[in-house]
């Protein structure tokens, strides 16, 4: 039912004489009014350019943003309001549609329930009449512009991306009816309205008709895009406390570097060592380093175990360095100090005589790091190996992890 409340604040338009933008604004207002929307039911999102002058004309809620980004802002407003009784109308020009094309495609892909009105006057009207991505080649020829790149067909692009409704309208007398249809659609609707720029285009509508793309109207039947809300639980809820069950011989702190290759269980071995330390009454830190392509190359982990709380989590001088592959060794060999205890796999060729054992052969590709850690724990006696076995007992890989730990006995 048509509302009696005024959608527009004024009948006077701020545009150049003869500009088509005024017709577009009045058509939007008329459509909303005839569809029964009250001003506070509507949030108008405006872009930059001549189309960005519309805010004061509307008695609705308004939000005036950046060049080309209004459709993205409209997506946020629509999903944020999450109210089917509120209507989000976004207005931008052909320049805005060019710079922010991705935002239109995304709104269409998600079929967000809002209406985008692209007022296409074939040029940038506020900066001197430059050509936009929606300027037709006929218009570019007319303007003696030698760029013959085909324009974007924003109506078809929105349709291909999944918009519920996308349409190009050239006939002013049809603007209101088409807008009403678009606004009534559930989902994303795009209306490209052809608009005369009398300052940089041409003076008469009759001339304009030769330069604009043909009308088209395209539809998709798709569910409306929504953002799901859910109840969630605290991220701290499932953090298990590790109560002290074993005793450690560490009186100060010790830093361990474990190095190998991606997929070799380096990070998990380090995490298990840290947890075993915590079960033995120690404070612990653990951090990993690996290339950005996480599935290849080196994998290095650092663990600090300390009797006192740990502030600085870096490892200046590692007490223990473990390397099970060449990838890992090459990454950590320069960090070894004269006081470092070093364990390297026998296949790694080192320049010095470090203790080597067949960690890879005995522990296996995925278990070598844990096998070496177990070997060191037993050799050093920092805490009972049972602490490490306790850590893995609830793992879904418990059997293979226990095997890797016990394999240290076979070294």
């Amino acid at each position: 039912m048509e509302t009696t409340e005024k959608i527009l604040t004024t009948a006077k338009m701020p545009f150049c004489p003869g500009c088509g933008h005024g017709v577009c604004v009045r058509s939007i207002s008329k459509s909303l009014k005839e569809l029964g929307y009250k001003p506070k039911d509507v949030a108008l999102v405006s872009d930059i350019g001549c189309s960005g002058l519309v805010d004061p004309l509307f008695a609705t809620h308004t939000i005036h943003g950046l060049h080309g980004r209004a459709p993205a802002l409209g997506v946020g407003v629509t999903l944020g309001l999450d109210n089917p009784y509120k209507k989000v109308i976004v207005i931008q020009g052909d320049g805005g549609a060019t710079i922010g094309l991705q935002h239109i495609l995304e709104a269409a892909r998600r079929n967000i329930d809002m209406t985008l009105v692209v007022i296409n006057n074939l040029l940038y009207g506020m900066t001197g009449g430059q050509m936009s991505g929606l300027s037709t080649n006929e218009f570019k020829d007319y303007k003696h512009n030698d760029d013959n790149t085909e324009p974007y067909d924003v109506v078809n692009l929105a349709h291909q991306s999944g918009a519920a409704f996308s349409v190009r309208v050239n006939d002013i007398s049809n603007f209101t009816d088409v807008l009403k249809e678009a606004i009534s659609v559930q989902g994303f609707s795009l209306v490209e309205l052809s608009s005369l720029c009398t300052s940089y285009g041409m003076k008469k509508v009759a001339e304009f008709k030769d330069f604009i793309a043909a009308e088209e109207k395209l539809m998709n039947k798709r569910p409306v895009g929504v953002s799901l809300k859910r109840e969630t639980n605290s991220l701290l809820e499932n953090i298990k406390g590790l109560d002290t069950q074993f005793t450690s011989t560490i009186n100060d702190s010790i830093g361990v570097v474990i190095a190998g290759s991606a997929g070799g269980g380096i990070q998990s071995a380090a995490r298990m060592l840290a947890k075993a330390g915590m079960l033995s009454g120690l404070h612990a830190t653990m951090k990993g380093e690996y290339p950005i392509t996480v599935g290849t190359g080196f994998s290095v982990a650092e663990v600090i175990l300390s009797k006192k709380p740990i502030n600085f989590t870096g490892l200046e001088k590692p007490s223990v360095v473990i390397a099970v592959t060449d990838d890992g060794w090459n990454k950590v060999k320069n960090r070894i100090t004269e006081n470092s205890k070093v364990f390297v796999d026998s296949k790694i060729s080192t320049e010095r005589n470090f203790e080597t054992k067949e960690f890879l052969k005995i522990g296996g590709k995925k278990g070598a790091a844990l096998c070496t850690v177990s070997h060191w724990i037993k050799e050093s006696g920092i805490f009972p190996i049972e602490a490490l076995l306790k850590v893995v007992e609830d793992s879904k890989y418990a059997a293979s992890l226990q095997n890797a730990i016990k394999s240290a006995d076979d070294l």
């Binding site: 506070k40 949030a43 805010d55 950046l66 309001l81 951090k287 380093e289 989590t313 870096g314």
Partner: protein, 362 residues
């Protein structure tokens, strides 16, 4: 074992943040994955510009949105961050610093974005930047970030670093007190309502788009109290100037720092973020050797309160400890010129260690 990404995410949700909108980027990915699990609403944006635009839409609709990114993402968000600032939209951005310039080394930590962020609002307007120094700060400062965003109607940045948010650490989570959701009820105002008319506290009452009581206008361009574009009018310029005043004049309401002052000390270490723990260890070691030293850990990095200047001025020698090339926070305070009173303990592409800080302090 726990990391600060988890703590920050949980604290933000408990404080009332409604939605996380993100685009994945190392080393902020843990925020993305934890937020997907924890936030009442989660959206994967197609790029960082869309992410912040969507956040602005949510914020204008009355929600508190959060994102997490690193320098490359923040660079793309910069124009929209200015829009959010100008519109006075509450939101929280987590920036995890990594080694630059450009794409640099995504998995190497750094403290190199401070000066970029200092000038990120065109015109040199202040933006609250919080920097947690440890897990306790990660909890409390995240809560303060939401409070500040709502109280001052402003975006707030939590500036952190790879090593701080990705390192796992044994930590007693029972020490974290449950946080209350921050109240977003619009405050009382003298009618008629104008969306950008502020009272004595310099912050206009916030009503969302779509409300049935008052017409609301948000505007990214210079605007009057009604939210309409006005170029160069006294009202619109005063409105823009107010953006600075509301944050500068009430700076001590959101200035946080930790001062470990030793009586009789004439030397001070000033640090922030990921280098704070190394500085704590350095101070412990220096004192064990019988030397006197004080430590200032700055947690509200920007804008800088007079309280920070006063503390620094009260010492004969000041050492700035930072994980960057030249000491970016030092340059905020003293500029780039050498100053006989000032030393810098800096490190490029690796964490500054306690012994390196101690060496410079000597």
């Amino acid at each position: 074992m726990i990391d600060a990404s988890r703590i920050i995410t949980e604290a933000l949700v408990q404080s009332g943040a409604d939605v996380f909108i993100g685009y994945p980027i190392t080393p902020s990915n843990l925020f993305y994955s934890y937020s997907k699990e924890r936030f009442p609403e989660f959206l994967a944006g197609p790029d960082e510009i869309s992410v912040l635009q969507w956040m602005c839409g949510y914020s204008a609709a009355g929600k508190i949105p959060v994102t997490a990114t690193a320098f490359p993402g923040l660079a793309l968000m910069t124009e929209t961050l200015n829009m959010a600032y100008m519109m006075e939209l509450p939101m929280v951005l987590i920036i995890t610093q990594r080694l630059g310039p450009s794409t640099g080394s995504a998995t190497t930590g750094a403290q190199g974005d401070l000066k970029f962020i200092d000038g990120i609002i065109s015109g040199g307007f202040p933006l609250p930047i919080f920097s947690p120094s440890n897990f306790d700060d990660a909890w409390t400062l995240s809560n303060e970030a939401v409070k500040t965003a709502i109280k001052f109607r402003t975006p707030v940045i939590i500036l952190t670093s790879k090593e701080l948010v990705m390192t796992q650490k044994s930590f007693n989570i029972n020490s974290l007190e449950t946080l209350e959701k921050v109240d977003t009820t619009p405050k009382a105002f003298e009618p008629p309502y104008q969306p950008y008319k502020a009272g004595e506290d310099m912050v206009p009452p916030f009503f969302p788009l779509g409300n049935n009581e008052y017409q609301v206008r948000f505007n990214s361009s210079t605007h009057d109290n009604d939210g309409l574009i006005r170029k160069g009018t006294p009202e619109s310029l005063a409105n823009t100037w107010r953006l600075r005043e509301k944050l500068e004049n009430r700076i001590d309401e959101y200035t946080f720092f930790e001062l470990d002052a030793e009586e009789g000390a004439t030397n001070l270490i000033v640090t922030w973020g990921v280098t704070a723990d190394a500085s704590r260890d350095a101070v412990y070691s220096i004192r064990n050797k019988g030397e006197k030293i004080s430590l200032l850990i700055v947690k509200t990095l920007l804008p800088i309160s007079k309280k920070i200047y006063d503390i620094i001025d009260s010492y004969d020698t000041v050492t700035f400890a930072e994980e960057n090339m030249t000491g970016l926070y030092k340059e905020m305070i003293f500029g780039k010129r050498n100053n006989p009173k000032v030393k810098t303990a800096t490190k490029f592409a690796a964490m500054l260690t306690p012994s390196e800080i101690e060496e410079i302090v000597k």
